[in-house]
């Protein structure tokens, strides 16, 4: 690898990292605004015009807060928890193809940090690693509510990962590859996977809600039962990391859903557009389209949060084990039958 390539990759990593942080930051603002609009309110509007400086004010407040580590807490693990949560949230975006390769002169710049051929598995690995941040934090707090929240998070993630994986298997049968780049390429134009896998997408999105601990599956931090859940004992920026990790997770899982099921950077008529605006602008338009899809998904996450009340824990488990897993298996069988008799 040449030095130029390494620099380009490094730049790409920094840019993606910054973008995911900024998106997560403004998701907190968007969440409050969206919540306000759904409830006929105004939302934050004091910090700057329309309150757009609100995330900065929130961040500043988080840093200023007193740092409390409980006496009986396990010191090291108490710090490892939130660090792990935010780290795993940030590394998930490494395999997402953000656009078609750019052709700048003779150079071909890949808009993907790394194209490992098991991209989907990598995402799964990172997602299941993410629960460790919550588990360790909850356990290290030495607080029964934190522990209950952590246990809930762990069992919830394990249960929903199964149906998520089964939903992906059907997708892999259609696409025949684990590389996110190739999956995105196969959905060229309007051949989006959601058309071939509507049931799989439904299962996947429900599981995504559970994996990111978003309402209606936000039982690990269920305020009405567990005070603050796994982050009861956390304050200052360590709490900020946990909350921030949730929003980064939301961004990454929106990106994954957009890539896996909604064509990633593909949009109808993209060839025509690329032919007319050139090989640099064209793929960048695709990137913009991908981000539009991601923001729509983030909006959908928020829309659901402010509509559907929280599930009870037994309902959550029932839904995961008795409904989604059989449904996902049926989806695999159905996909197999259709592929055998009608081809793709």
């Amino acid at each position: 690898m040449e030095l130029a390539d390494i620099l380009i990759k490094f730049g790409l990593i920094v840019v993606i990292f910054l973008i995911s942080l900024v998106v997560a930051m403004y998701s907190t603002y968007a969440e409050r605004k969206v919540a306000a609009f759904f409830q006929d309110r105004v939302g934050p509007n004091r910090a700057g015009p329309w309150g757009i400086l609100q995330p900065l004010a929130d961040g500043g407040k988080m840093f200023m807060k007193e740092e409390i580590i409980p006496n009986r807490a396990s010191g090291l693990l108490f710090i490892v928890g939130p660090s792990l949560a935010i780290m795993t949230a940030c590394i998930g975006s490494a395999v997402i193809p953000w656009g078609q390769p750019l052709h700048i002169g003779s150079k071909v710049v890949d808009l993907q940090v790394t194209d490992i051929n098991v991209g989907v598995l990598y995402i799964f690995g990172v997602v299941s690693l993410g629960v460790y941040g919550i588990m360790i934090g909850g356990w290290a707090s030495n607080n029964k509510y934190s522990l209950l929240g952590a246990i809930r998070a762990a069992s919830q993630n394990i249960s929903y990962e199964i149906s998520m994986g089964l939903a992906i298997i059907a997708l892999l049968m259609v696409n025949g590859t684990l590389s996110l780049k190739e999956i995105a390429e196969q959905q060229h134009g309007w051949h989006w996977n959601v058309i071939y896998q509507p049931l799989g997408f439904l299962i996947f999105i429900v599981c995504a809600f559970a994996e990111t601990n978003r309402s209606p599956f936000d039982l690990p931090e269920c305020e009405t039962e567990l005070i603050g859940g796994y982050h009861t004992e956390y304050s200052s920026m360590k709490l900020g990391f946990y909350l921030f990790a949730e929003y980064i997770n939301m961004f990454v899982s929106s990106a994954v859903m957009a890539t896996l099921y909604f064509g990633g950077y593909n949009y109808p008529g993209m060839d025509w557009v690329t032919a007319h605006v050139g090989p640099v602008i064209g793929p960048l338009i695709g990137t913009v389209v991908l981000f539009a899809k991601i923001f729509l998904f983030i909006f959908f996450f928020m829309w659901v949060r402010w509509t559907i009340p929280r599930f009870r824990y037994d309902q959550l488990m029932n839904l995961g084990w008795r409904t989604l897993i059989p449904l996902a298996i049926a989806n695999i069988v159905l996909t197999g039958i259709i592929m055998t008799f009608f081809g793709k």
């Binding site: 969206v34 306000a36 609009f37 759904f38 409830q39 006929d40 309110r41 105004v42 509007n45 829309w303 659901v304 402010w306 509509t307 559907i308």
Partner: protein
């Protein structure tokens, strides 16, 4: 026993239909409702910039009135203080000196008149008790302060502005 009002309705728990069991139709309907609210106009009144109109009989901050010639109406009779259930009003009476006829309407006036706004419950009994129509609760909301002492309003804050000066 037979119901007299005939309003009793016997409900029976029907088993859920498939659509109800699947959650999704209900969720979609709920999301439709929230989406409708998303595009609705918000009902918030942005307070410090916009103010809601008070009703006719709103009772706000007190004001001590002047008569047509700009003289203070209050004669420091003390009926307002007596009627006050929260004991928020105190005053000290003084005698009008010759040459002060354009300032005070009667021979006696309130040299000091204080209302503790933290005690006041804005019941309006003082304005009902006043025989001289000197006190009315027709002002704005009492503004917030940092120190308790600042909530004790003296004549400087209570007396109406002089007529034409």
């Amino acid at each position: 026993m037979e119901s007299l009002s005939n309003k009793k309705k016997v409900l029976e728990a029907k088993p859920l239909t498939l659509a109800e069991k699947a959650y999704l139709p209900a969720i979609v309907r709920g999301m439709g409702i929230t989406l409708k609210h998303f595009f609705k106009k918000d009902v918030t009144i942005r307070y410090p910039e916009q103010k809601r109109e008070f009703s006719e009989n709103f009772r706000g901050m007190h004001s001590l009135k002047r008569d047509e010639q700009g003289r203070e109406r209050c004669t420091a009779c003390g009926l307002c203080a007596l009627s006050c259930p929260a004991e928020a009003i105190t005053m000290t009476a003084a005698e009008r000196q010759p040459g002060e006829e354009n300032l005070y309407r009667e021979e006696k006036y309130a040299a000091v008149y204080e209302i503790n706004m933290l005690r006041c419950i804005f019941c309006g009994l003082c304005e009902e008790a006043c025989p001289k129509e000197a006190i009315y609760l027709d002002g704005d909301i009492v503004p917030s302060e940092f120190i308790r002492k600042d909530f004790i309003y003296g004549k400087d804050k209570l007396v109406e502005a002089p007529l034409n000066q």
